[in-house]
């Protein structure tokens, strides 16, 4: 038995090994067990995961921007500290996910390069502007709420490193949603203007948050395969419906309303229903024509370039230390 590196894409295999790999993969799927980085997996499974996990990572990284812009404008020191912790979490989530994606054989540098070059996608939600302080509340409550709804089933995704990253992320997300809820609750119980500001933010973020679950089931070609591979556990519409049900309850506590007069519980299907969503807008934003797409990418590029000297300095220091150490070793040897 040869010792193995932890991560790498396997080399070309003989047809027999390929068949054995497929058989093992099918068994793992049937048993609802987990695939780990060194296991054989179909090329399409690897590709799907790599796309999904890297897009997810990019979303966390780009997702820092709408909120980071409000750190210096937070209404109190406490809120500022909370917001900084949240933005730091998003950076962490991005890194967990890049790590998971790297186990599939793609370098993080390449993924970041693709993001900066505008070749990679990320969640359309982050291309909407955060216009008022109440948006920090609505983003936490609706956007992070939808993310949690999506991510909790992903903790059981068939790819081990992805599931483990999601467990860690979900643990941290719940603070995000609660802090957002609290911001809205406080505004809602404030002056009429503050309450109006909270309602306005909810009105603007509601539909984009519902669209975070992806296109309707009959228009989501990849969903079926992802469900067969135990990556996705519930359909887009199923998750969206659950989310609407939760929001209906919570918005009452906030003393606000959802901007959707067609929300109702369908007694026959036992599911929550909502009004029509503008899927044309969704496609436009995904295609790069949303309100903030260009700005988000430009900012990411700037941050990457501005950080270059830090990366260089760290690498230079490490090289210097290493040179010193090998010098000392030589002296000892002499």
């Amino acid at each position: 038995m040869a010792a193995q590196n932890l991560q790498s894409v396997p080399a070309e295999l003989s047809p027999e090994d390929e068949a054995a790999g497929q058989a093992n993969f099918d068994r793992v799927m049937a048993e609802d067990s987990r695939i780990e980085p060194k296991d054989w997996m179909p090329a399409a499974y690897r590709k799907t995961l790599l796309r999904q996990i890297s897009q997810h990572a990019h979303s966390e990284i780009i997702g820092m921007q709408p909120e980071a812009n409000w750190i210096s404008r937070a209404p109190s020191l406490k809120r500022k500290a909370i917001l900084m912790a949240k933005v730091q979490d998003e950076a962490g989530h991005g890194l967990y996910l890049y790590s998971a994606a790297e186990t599939l054989g793609q370098t993080r540098d390449k993924m970041m390069e693709d993001l900066i070059a505008g070749k990679a996608r990320y969640s359309s939600i982050f291309n909407y502007p955060a216009l008022t302080w109440a948006d920090m509340g609505a983003i936490g409550w609706l956007v992070d709420g939808a993310a949690i709804c999506n991510q909790v089933p992903l903790c059981r995704a068939s790819y081990g490193p992805y599931g483990r990253a999601m467990v860690r992320i979900c643990k941290e997300e719940s603070f995000h949603q609660r802090q957002g809820f609290e911001i809205l609750l406080e505004l809602s119980n404030g002056t009429p203007e503050q309450k109006q500001m909270a309602q306005d933010a909810v009105n603007r973020w509601y539909a984009p948050a519902l669209m975070m679950f992806g296109p309707p089931d009959d228009d989501s070609p990849n969903s079926k395969q992802s469900m067969a591979w135990n990556i996705k556990r519930f359909s887009n519409d199923e998750l969206r419906s659950r989310f609407v049900g939760m929001m209906v309850e919570q918005v009452r506590v906030l003393g606000l309303t959802l901007p959707d007069d067609q929300v109702r519980f369908n007694e026959d299907t036992r599911k929550w229903e909502h009004g029509p969503l503008d899927w044309h807008e969704f496609q436009e934003v995904l295609a790069g024509r949303g309100p903030c797409n260009a700005q988000r990418l430009e900012r990411r590029r700037e941050a990457h370039d501005d950080g270059a000297w830090v990366r260089e300095a760290a690498a230079a220091y490490a090289a210097k230390q290493q040179a010193k150490q090998s010098m000392t070793t030589k002296e000892y040897a002499a």
């Binding site: 010792a3 932890l6 991560q7 370039d305 000297w309 760290a314 090289a319």
Partner: protein, 155 residues
Amino acid sequence: MSPHGNPEVPASSASEVIRGAEQVPSGAPTPEAAATETKAAATTPASENQVPSIQPAVNHADRGAWGLWEVFVRSSRGLSHVHAGSLHAPDAAMALRNARDLYTRRNEGVSIWVVPADAIAASDPDAKGSFFESPQGKDYRHATYYTKSEGVKHL
């Protein structure tokens, strides 16, 4: 609109950040560092007003030295270090600091190990059958195999 009026415009200009290799003390410590310095100097915008080009100012070779580290965290005294995840860092000291910031933001640990990922040898998953001996017929290695003592106290 003033930067402070529109939250989607950053309050502080990114140009306040000191950038470029001018800040690195002159005299390259190693040939590698010298190469990096020269490259950075060549690509640093001549003027702060110059719009950064779409190409990153520095190509990604600068992180070539940032290897992959595996992180193990001891959650409290008396417990083993458990694998938490991985990260990139240029050296062990930075790997430890990054691991602290990435994996212990909520008191998850009292001690951290970082190990270069390529220093870890792993068993081959395909050799499952031969490497891990079959437990078949070896029930006697478990206490539950011995049933005659059932009902006897403290045994």
